[in-house]
Symmetry: C2
Subunit: 163 residues, 2 copies
């Protein structure tokens, strides 16, 4: 590769400027950054496992809360999940349109809705969760191990207490 006689040779030597690994700098020690990257990775894996179910994490969480607390009022469900009640309306609307959950009159309070899963919703949630455990949580435990997962859950709880 002798230099073909080219006029106006670039002043810089042609060092191909390879891919240096990019130093994270201050981010390396920032818990929030590392937490976010991990959370995005886990949600991504969740979505892959839920392909075919058309179920996003927030939707799953709503179904799970209703299943564990049938008849709970709408406001209490959204509050428990940290979802603003205004935004919760459309979320629940879709679950209701899909016949997975339903709003019922709350006994003793005509303002409130008591939320329940439909029979279809219960079966759907059970299937989704089985898929989740079989694929998603399986992959999680593959990289983490069961003991480390429990350890991690405990550490995360301490952080959640920050807010």
């Amino acid at each position: 590769m002798a230099a073909p006689r080219r006029k106006s040779a670039p002043v810089t030597a042609e060092i191909p400027e390879e891919k240096q690994p990019v130093d994270l700098g201050l981010l390396d020690n920032l818990l929030g950054y590392r937490l976010r990257r991990a959370q995005l990775a886990v949600f991504q894996d969740f979505l892959v496992a839920m392909k075919g179910f058309e179920l996003r994490p927030a939707q799953f969480s709503v179904l799970a809360i209703i299943a564990a607390n049938p008849g709970l009022k709408q406001s209490r469900v959204s509050e428990a999940l940290g979802i603003n009640r205004a935004n919760f309306v459309a979320l629940l609307d879709e679950l209701e349109q899909r016949k997975l959950a339903r709003r019922a009159p709350a006994p003793g309070d005509r303002r409130s809705n008591a939320l329940y899963l439909t029979p279809k919703g219960e079966g759907f949630l059970k299937d989704a969760y089985r898929h989740l455990v079989g694929q998603h949580e399986k992959r999680v435990e593959a990289v983490l191990g069961s003991a480390d997962k429990q350890l991690l859950l405990g550490l995360l709880d301490k952080l959640t207490a920050l807010a």
Copy 2:
């Protein structure tokens, strides 16, 4: 799973439908859910610490990466942070308008921009980081402890490897 029965005869004493603690149900064992709650709490605390700096997590991350890798190309910065290059444009625009970062011609590639912090940007980042360590990370370590933080960082990295 429990059938959505009426609460006809509570086995416990006559608690008049007070605020039961809301059972997390399936969510209790779902790492993604717990991760998200922790991440939101930590980001919330970050935002509190950065009040007055008008600096969101993503903006901080951009400044930190540029500071640690001066002259890095725009595409490499966005890629390192997992930010889609189209969305990165406006993000960088704002940092440039605030005179914290600047686009410079990349030597040897007229398509690319080499990114640098301005002197103001370097001072700003240093101040922001000092505030962050003094307040945010301090609170984090208060609930977590230094050793547990390092432990947690290691566990999070394993999860990030999922994606």
